[in-house]
Amino acid sequence: MRTLPSILTTAGSVLALAGSLTLVPAPGLAADAKAESVVDKGKAIAFDRKKGNCLACHQIEGGSLPGNIGPPLVAMKARFPDKAKLRAQIWDATKANENSIMPPFGRQQILSESDIDKIVEFVYTL
């Protein structure tokens, strides 16, 4: 049991090292670009009227003609320190509020699991 933390620490520092190394040359840029594209994809799915259509109800930065049925999506990291809770809200809003008008995107298979993951990444940047 006692060795576990040190293994973790070691692993952690290796990761940290890798992280700082990648800051220098091209591979890091590639990683950033990839991360960004997940956010971009999430944004596209969220804004697509046939997919998330989140703008029907929420004001979201960068989206035009938003509805006002739901609260503006801002300061999401502060509102949802736990990302899993944010995902749960999008997956099935009726869990938190039984009578919610927000469509249960996961439960009703309106969006795929991977689409929801991407939306979560996007919403977390707001």
Partner: protein, 278 residues
Amino acid sequence: MKKLLTIAATLGLISAASVAVQAGPQQDLVEFRAYFKDRFPDVPFNDYINGVYAIDQASREQWESIEEFPPYELNIDKGKKLFNTPFKNGKTYASCFRNGGIGIKQDYPYYDTAKGKVVTLEAAINECRKKNGEEPLKWQKGAIADIAAYMAYTSRGHKFDVKVPADEGALAAYERGKHHFYSKRGQLNMSCADCHQYNAGNRVRADILSPALGHVTHFPVYRSKWGGLGTVHRRYGGCNKQVRAKPYKPQGEEYSDLEYFESYMSNGLELNGPGARK
């Protein structure tokens, strides 16, 4: 002690149940109105006949200018002509309705105790045709909407007076309509009430949601989106599709009961059909 409690509980249940039966539609009506009065304190009761324009000043002006040269005017003329054209047997629609069919739309839909079902104005029009040996018209648009538009026009200014008689079947039809209104449906899991009660006045994208109070007063309606007239069942179908639910058949029991509920909720409001909407 235990026995006493059981008796009390039983009595309690019994009296609650009998109150509920008595209260029913009437109590619902009082609460429904109070809900909107509370949500829109500045909107006068009779203004609900104007739908979304009762609560949105910005679009109201544009709409009022449309109503000055109403897009449904030709339909009223066509409807009048159809209404007065004799069937092959020489009779006309007038023979089927109270007061020759003039100024009577406020009575519809009604519960027909003999047939055991809700009868809408459109159903009565086709019933009249069948009775006189004519083919029924297609529901939702075209000639039936024109005739209904003319009949609505002659009823302008009359107040909705839909009754739920003390009849088991009538109450059941009313309750089914109410249940439909408040039930979540479709892949998107939304009820009529979600949009037209709890979020009336809010925007879905750029569309402001109308209050359900007064929903039926101006039907059939001319919609620019349709480029013509449509019945309220046509509209219900569209709203069901929006939430990715399969629309029910026009003039089937589901929509007739729903219209019965919505119309009862609009009792006391003036008829102003046909109307024009986006």
